[in-house]
């Protein structure tokens, strides 16, 4: 397989008499500080103005959907948090919610509340870094360091709860890996004060900052209908005026018991997306507040032994008796374990970047027959060409960081 060189775009030979500059082709390539990942754009430019932009992806295609067809449902949880590595918990929760809806399992109230708290915390982690990186791309480097100090505090919380900073793999079908530590709510409250302070500082730094406003207002604007046609979801769609949030449209895990607004803007440009993300962080904090207040006691796993592992004492012969041992054996051996009934389901959830949907087809065995993920970055990045054509090259950098493209999720 010789190295796949890209055939250069055919540049029409302009007539000799024309004194204008010929089109220049620039490679905004896979190894580039501003692409935040392995994306490639071949840009045809007239001077600074972008005439045509062709995006090329697949530089991080890791065959997620193929390897998941060789794993049981609980094993695919470890696969799911390698997709969107900015907010891995949202992926784990999305997968667990999808399989539970397929099997018709109702998780315990404590598990649902813990999942909502962790999902909203990782939404804050994703948004704060996106705003930080966007500011860094436009020149304000210090904001990225502020964002990272907040993220480090969130890493401490995630590590305290799940054991890992980034690849958490915390949820299981029908419950969680383990319960939250006793000092969980006090640690989260401590983060919330410093988080609010840092976010308002970042807001103060960027909101009326002439450089930031000039670089982002009116840049890469997309109208509401066009965003729907492009399949944009999440902050991009809400910035274009369409008030659509899967947590409100199709509530899961009890999101309908919390009051929070859906921040939307009208212009649909880079500045509007930044505003939506910042306001969404405040909304997430409101949700975490309410969830912490009503965090119920009780078990975190569904009590159905066919799905959830029996606890240690249930397994030992004197107390648990023969059933505990048999269920433990059945849960781990081939052909046993979590086996949803034959059928398929598409369950969307609201990830920080947009609608993260799992389309699972089960053929009755414990391995998914088809494990399809609807990644928000895939459809958001498709609109990048439309947003940056006609603008300047430096505008396309601002637009790219406002889309918050995660290559792992993009190429799956």
């Amino acid at each position: 397989m010789e190295r796949p060189t890209r055939t250069p775009l055919e540049v029409e030979e302009e007539s000799e008499g024309d004194l204008g500059a010929r089109r220049m082709i620039v490679n905004f390539g896979p190894q580039h500080p501003a692409t935040h990942g392995t994306l490639r754009n071949i840009i045809e430019m007239d001077g600074e103005r972008i005439l045509r932009l062709e995006a090329e992806i697949g530089f991080l295609h890791s065959g997620f959907e193929k390897i998941s067809e060789y794993r049981s449902y609980n094993q695919t949880v470890t696969v799911s948090d390698r997709m969107n590595y900015m907010s891995p918990l949202c992926n784990n929760i999305a997968l667990a919610v999808a399989v539970e809806e397929m099997m018709g399992i109702q998780v315990t109230p404590r598990c649902a509340t813990i999942r909502i708290i962790l999902a909203e915390l990782s939404r804050i982690a994703d948004h704060i870094l996106c705003v930080g990186l966007q500011a860094m791309d436009l020149g304000a480097f210090s904001l990225m360091l502020w964002a990272f100090t907040e993220r480090e505090k969130l890493y401490d919380i995630f590590e305290n709860v799940t054991g890992a900073r980034l690849t958490t793999s915390y949820t299981r079908i029908g419950g969680l890996f383990r319960d939250v530590p006793h000092d969980f709510d006090e640690q989260v409250r401590r983060f919330m004060e410093s988080g609010k302070k840092t976010i308002s500082e970042m807001e103060g730094m960027l909101d009326e900052n002439p450089i930031f406003v000039n670089r982002t207002k009116g840049v890469g604007a997309v109208s509401g209908e066009e965003s729907i046609s492009f399949g944009l979801t999440g902050p991009l769609l809400r910035a274009a005026g369409v008030q659509y949030d899967v947590r409100r449209a199709r509530p899961y895990l009890g999101y309908d018991q919390y009051e929070f607004e859906i921040p939307t803007e009208k212009e649909g440009d880079v500045y509007a997306r930044y505003r939506v993300r910042v306001r969404e962080m405040y909304e997430s904090m409101k949700i975490v507040d309410q969830a912490l207040k009503k965090l119920p006691k009780g078990p975190i796993n569904v009590s159905d032994p066919r799905i959830v592992l029996p606890t240690k004492d249930e397994r030992n012969l004197p107390e648990g008796g023969m059933e505990g041992l048999i269920y433990h054996f059945k849960n781990y051996m081939h052909g046993h374990g979590v086996r949803p009934p034959k059928g398929e389901v598409y369950v969307p959830t609201e990830a920080p970047n947009g609608e993260l949907g799992y389309y699972l087809i089960s053929d009755g065995t414990e391995r998914p027959y088809r494990w399809r993920v609807r990644p928000p970055s895939f459809y958001n990045y498709q609109a990048f060409a439309r947003m940056s054509e006609g603008g300047l090259l430096s505008d396309s950098v601002a637009v790219l960081s406002s889309l918050n493209i995660i290559a792992g999720e993009l190429d799956r």
Partner: protein
């Protein structure tokens, strides 16, 4: 329009297209033939109110007793009424071609390119149908059920640089 009425009206409007209607875990969906898929989806979008194509993906039903081997799944959403609906168009293995819906939604082209890349499904009328996730010189169709998990040796096929030789040593 909520999905259940969508299923009935579809069965009346396109009786010969709709193969069967199903429902699983509270989610109705419909199996259709591939011939008039564009008109069917256009009707669903314009009159059915399903204005967003949330996801388009391919499925390989190798000897699973489905009408055909390949299937293209369209997951539709209505942002106004929050309703969801799924249309599954079946494509025979002998001639895996189906009309492209890139004229109806701008989110379709890349998803169709991925289905082409992973399953080898051709989309008639697609603006620029070529591989999207794998290199153009890649031979196989990985997500097909009969394709080996570890591929056919493409991952070893690169020149090797060693420190001593300071140059290509392949």
């Amino acid at each position: 329009m909520d999905p259940t009425t969508a299923v009935e009206t579809l069965q009346q409007k396109f009786p010969e297209q709709v193969i069967s209607a199903h429902e699983h875990a509270g989610q109705p969906f419909v199996h259709v033939k591939r011939d008039r898929i564009v008109d069917l989806l256009k009707w669903l979008r314009n009159d059915g109110g399903f204005d967003m194509l949330a996801d388009l993906c391919g499925v390989d039903y190798l000897n699973q007793g489905m009408p055909e081997r390949f299937c293209v799944v369209y997951n539709l959403t209505s942002t106004a009424s929050n309703a969801r609906f799924r249309v599954k168009a079946f494509v025979p293995e002998a001639d895996p071609v189906i009309d492209s819906v890139s004229k109806l939604w701008k989110s379709a082209p890349w998803a169709e390119r991925e289905a082409f890349d992973m399953f080898g499904l051709q989309f008639r009328g697609h603006p620029d149908l070529k591989r999207i996730l794998l290199p153009e010189s890649y031979g196989g169709r990985p997500l097909r059920k009969d394709y080996p998990l570890i591929g056919e040796g493409e991952r070893q096929n690169f020149p090797r640089y060693t420190k001593e030789a300071h140059g290509k040593a392949h």
